[in-house]
C-alpha cells in the first residue's frame, strides 16, 4: 500500500543498524495441545450448555432422593396413577409410588450404568488394543481375528444371553456391557498405536534409549488419550440406550429399583390413559443422551489436532 503522505528524503537511504534478524515469534500464543483443546472446548456454546445439563442432572440425582419425603419403593395404594401435583411433582404410578423421587433415583441408576458401562469397557479396550498394537505380529493378528469373529453378531444378542445367565440389576448390566463393549475401543486404540509406533518421534526416543514402559507412558498414551476420552463420552448415551432397551424387554433393572428404562417400560403399559408416566422418563432419557452426544461432539472437535488455530 503506497503511503503517499510520507515524504522520502535522501536521508532515508541509509542502512539500518542494529538489525536483529531473529526468527519472528509466530503471532499467536504457543499453547500446549491440552490447553488449546480446553480453550476451544470452552468456547463451544453447544458443548458447554450440554455439559451444564449433565451436571444439573447429576446433582439433582444425588440431592433429590435425599431430601424427598418419599422413597422410591414406598407405595400408597390410595393414591395410584395421580397426575402431577404439588404433593407429587411427577405424579404417582400404578402402585402409588412417587414418580418424582423414582425418576431422580432412577437417574442415579441410569447414569451409573451409563458411565461405568462406558468407562469399564473402554479401559478393557485400551489394554487389549494397546497390547495388540504394541506387540504387533501374531498377537495382533489373533486378537483382531477374534474381534472380527465376535463382532459378526450384534452385541445386544450377547448382552441378552449374558443377562439371562447372571440375572438382572445394575451390576450385571455393567458386567454385560464390559464383556461386550470393549471391541470398538480396542480396534481404535490398536490402530492408533500402530500408527504412532512408526512415527518419527517414537523412533527418535528409542534411538535416545527410551525403554518400552517410558515409551508407552510418555508417548503412546497421551496421544491416544484424546480418542479414548471422546470414545468414553460417546459410549455413555449408548450404554443408557442399552439399559433402556433391556429394561423395556424385561431384562434390565428389575422393580422396585427404578431406572429410566424401567420407568419407560412401566409407563408404556398405561401410556394411553396416563401419558405422563411414559413421557417423563422418555424425556429424561432423550435429554441425557442428547447432552452426552453433543458434549462428545464438542470434545471431539476440541481435541482434533487438525482444527488447531
Amino acid at each position: 500500500m503506497e503511503n503517499n503522505t510520507d515524504i522520502i528524503s535522501l536521508d532515508d537511504f541509509r542502512f539500518i543498524e542494529d538489525k536483529n534478524p531473529e526468527f519472528n515469534e509466530s503471532k499467536g500464543e504457543n499453547l500446549s495441545y491440552w490447553a488449546d483443546a480446553k480453550r476451544r472446548l470452552l468456547k463451544n456454546k453447544v458443548a458447554m450448555i450440554s455439559l451444564a445439563f449433565i451436571i444439573i442432572i447429576f446433582i439433582l440425582s444425588i440431592v433429590i432422593p435425599i431430601v424427598s419425603p418419599y422413597t422410591y419403593s414406598q407405595q400408597d395404594l390410595d393414591n395410584i396413577n395421580a397426575p402431577p401435583s404439588s404433593e407429587h411433582y411427577f405424579g404417582t404410578d400404578s402402585l402409588g409410588r412417587d414418580l418424582w423421587v423414582r425418576v431422580w433415583y432412577g437417574a442415579r441408576v441410569s447414569l451409573a450404568v451409563g458411565i461405568f458401562g462406558s468407562i469399564i469397557p473402554s479401559l478393557i479396550g485400551i489394554v487389549i488394543g494397546g497390547i495388540s498394537g504394541y506387540f504387533g505380529g501374531k498377537v495382533d493378528m489373533v486378537i483382531m481375528r477374534l474381534i472380527d469373529i465376535i463382532m459378526c453378531v450384534p452385541s445386544m444378542i450377547y448382552i441378552i444371553l449374558i443377562m439371562l445367565y447372571i440375572g438382572s440389576g445394575p451390576v450385571p448390566l455393567i458386567i454385560a456391557f464390559a464383556l461386550t463393549g470393549w471391541m470398538g475401543t480396542a480396534r481404535n486404540v490398536r490402530g492408533l498405536v500402530l500408527q504412532l509406533k512408526e512415527r518419527e518421534f517414537v523412533l527418535a526416543s528409542k534411538a535416545l534409549g527410551a525403554s518400552s514402559t517410558s515409551l508407552i507412558f510418555s508417548h503412546l498414551i497421551p496421544n491416544t488419550l484424546g480418542i479414548v476420552i471422546v470414545g468414553i463420552t460417546m459410549g455413555v448415551p449408548s450404554a443408557i440406550f442399552h439399559e433402556a432397551y433391556l429394561s423395556f424387554i424385561g431384562l434390565g433393572i428389575a422393580p422396585p429399583i427404578p431406572s429410566w428404562g424401567q420407568l419407560a417400560n412401566l409407563g408404556t403399559a398405561v401410556f394411553r390413559i396416563y401419558p405422563y408416566q411414559l413421557l417423563i422418563p422418555a424425556i429424561m432419557i432423550s435429554i441425557t443422551m442428547l447432552s452426552f452426544n453433543l458434549f462428545g461432539d464438542g470434545l471431539r472437535d476440541a481435541l482434533d489436532p487438525k482444527l488447531r488455530n
Binding site: I149, P154, I157, Y245, I249, A282, L290
Partner: protein, 306 residues
C-alpha cells in the same frame, strides 16, 4: 479377490458355530425348568416331558445332536408352543418382521443419504443446520420411545393413523417411521462427514480442473467416493434395525419374530431362544458377509490390502 471371499466365508461359519455353542451351553446351564411355571404338572409328567425332549441326556450328547440338527436346518420343537417347531414359527413370523425392517430401510437409506449429501454441499447454510439438528435429535431418542410418542400424537390425539397391529398399509406407517428415524439420523451424519471429507480432496480439484460440470463432479467423483465408508456401516445398520424390531413389535403389537424372541426369554423356552438366536446370528453374519463382499467390489484398494 477369491481369497478374500473365502477368508470372509470361513470367519462367518466360525462365528455361527461359536454363537450356537455359546447359546447351547448358556441355556442348558441356566437355572429353572421350562415346565414348572405353567400348569401344575406332576413330577412324573415333568420327567416324561424332559425325556421326550431329550433334556435328560448327558450334556455333550445333547450338544452333538443339536449341532447335527442345526446343519440339517432343524431347530427342534418349541418347548412352550407344543407341536410347533421353531422353524414353523420362524416361517410364519419372520416375514412380518422382515417387512417392517425393509420398510424402515426403504425410508432411512435414500432419505438419510440424500440429506447427508445436501447438507454437505450446502454447508453452513440453513439446510445444513436443519439436517444436523434432525440427525442429532434422531440419534438421541430411542426408537421405542419415539414409537410411543408417535402413537400418542397420531393415533390417540389426531386419530389419523391406527394405533397398533399390522393389518393394512396404514398400519405400517407409524412402526416403520419409528424404526427408521435413528438409522436416518446416523446415515445423515455419516454421509455428511464423508462428503465433506471427499469434497476437500485433491482429486476433486483435478476433476474441476478438467472442466467437468458440477453435477458430474458430484455424482461420479464425490458421491461415489463418499459412499465407500457408508458401506462399512451397512452391517451394523441392519443389526440395529433387527434389534429395533423387537421393541417396536412390542409397542405396536405386531405379530413378528421379535415378540416371540422376547417372550421366549422370559418364558425360558430354551429351544425357541436358542433357535431364534442362532437364526438371527446367522442372518447377521450373512448380511455382514454380503456387505464385506460389496465393499471389496466398490473399493478396489481393499482387495489388495486385506
Amino acid at each position: 479377490m477369491i481369497k478374500y471371499i473365502i477368508k470372509r466365508l470361513f470367519i462367518s461359519i466360525l462365528t455361527i458355530w461359536l454363537l450356537a455353542t455359546i447359546c447351547f451351553f448358556l441355556l442348558r446351564t441356566l437355572p429353572g425348568n421350562p415346565f414348572q411355571s405353567d400348569q401344575i404338572i406332576s413330577v412324573e409328567m415333568q420327567e416324561k416331558m424332559m425325556s421326550y425332549y431329550g433334556l435328560d441326556r448327558p450334556l455333550m450328547e445333547q450338544y452333538i445332536t443339536y449341532l447335527g440338527n442345526l446343519l440339517k436346518g432343524d431347530m427342534g420343537y418349541s418347548l412352550k408352543y407344543t407341536n410347533r417347531t421353531v422353524n414353523s414359527i420362524i416361517k410364519s413370523a419372520f416375514p412380518v418382521s422382515a417387512d417392517l425392517g425393509l420398510r424402515s430401510l426403504a425410508i432411512a437409506l435414500p432419505l438419510g443419504l440424500f440429506l447427508g449429501i445436501v447438507s454437505a454441499k450446502k454447508r453452513g447454510q440453513a439446510v445444513d443446520y436443519l439436517c444436523v439438528f434432525i440427525s442429532v435429535i434422531g440419534v438421541s431418542i430411542p426408537s421405542f420411545i419415539l414409537g410411543s410418542f408417535l402413537q400418542y400424537i397420531f393415533a390417540l390425539k389426531l386419530g389419523i393413523l391406527p394405533m397398533a397391529q399390522w393389518k393394512t398399509q396404514l398400519h405400517t406407517v407409524l412402526p416403520s417411521v419409528a424404526l427408521s428415524l435413528s438409522l436416518l439420523a446416523t446415515l445423515t451424519r455419516v454421509m455428511r462427514a464423508s462428503m465433506l471429507e471427499v469434497i476437500g480432496q485433491d482429486y476433486i480439484k483435478t476433476a474441476k480442473g478438467k472442466g467437468l460440470d458440477g453435477k458430474k463432479i458430484t455424482w461420479s467423483h464425490q458421491i461415489r467416493n463418499a459412499l465407500v465408508p457408508i458401506l462399512t456401516m451397512l452391517g451394523p445398520m441392519v443389526a440395529s434395525v433387527l434389534m429395533g424390531t423387537f421393541v417396536i413389535e412390542k409397542i405396536f403389537a405386531i405379530p413378528g419374530l421379535g415378540q416371540h424372541f422376547v417372550n421366549s426369554i422370559t418364558g425360558l423356552d430354551y429351544t425357541m431362544t436358542m433357535g431364534l438366536t442362532v437364526f438371527y446370528g446367522t442372518f447377521m453374519v450373512a448380511a455382514n458377509f454380503i456387505v464385506d463382499i460389496a465393499y471389496g467390489i466398490v473399493d478396489p484398494r481393499i482387495r489388495i490390502t486385506k
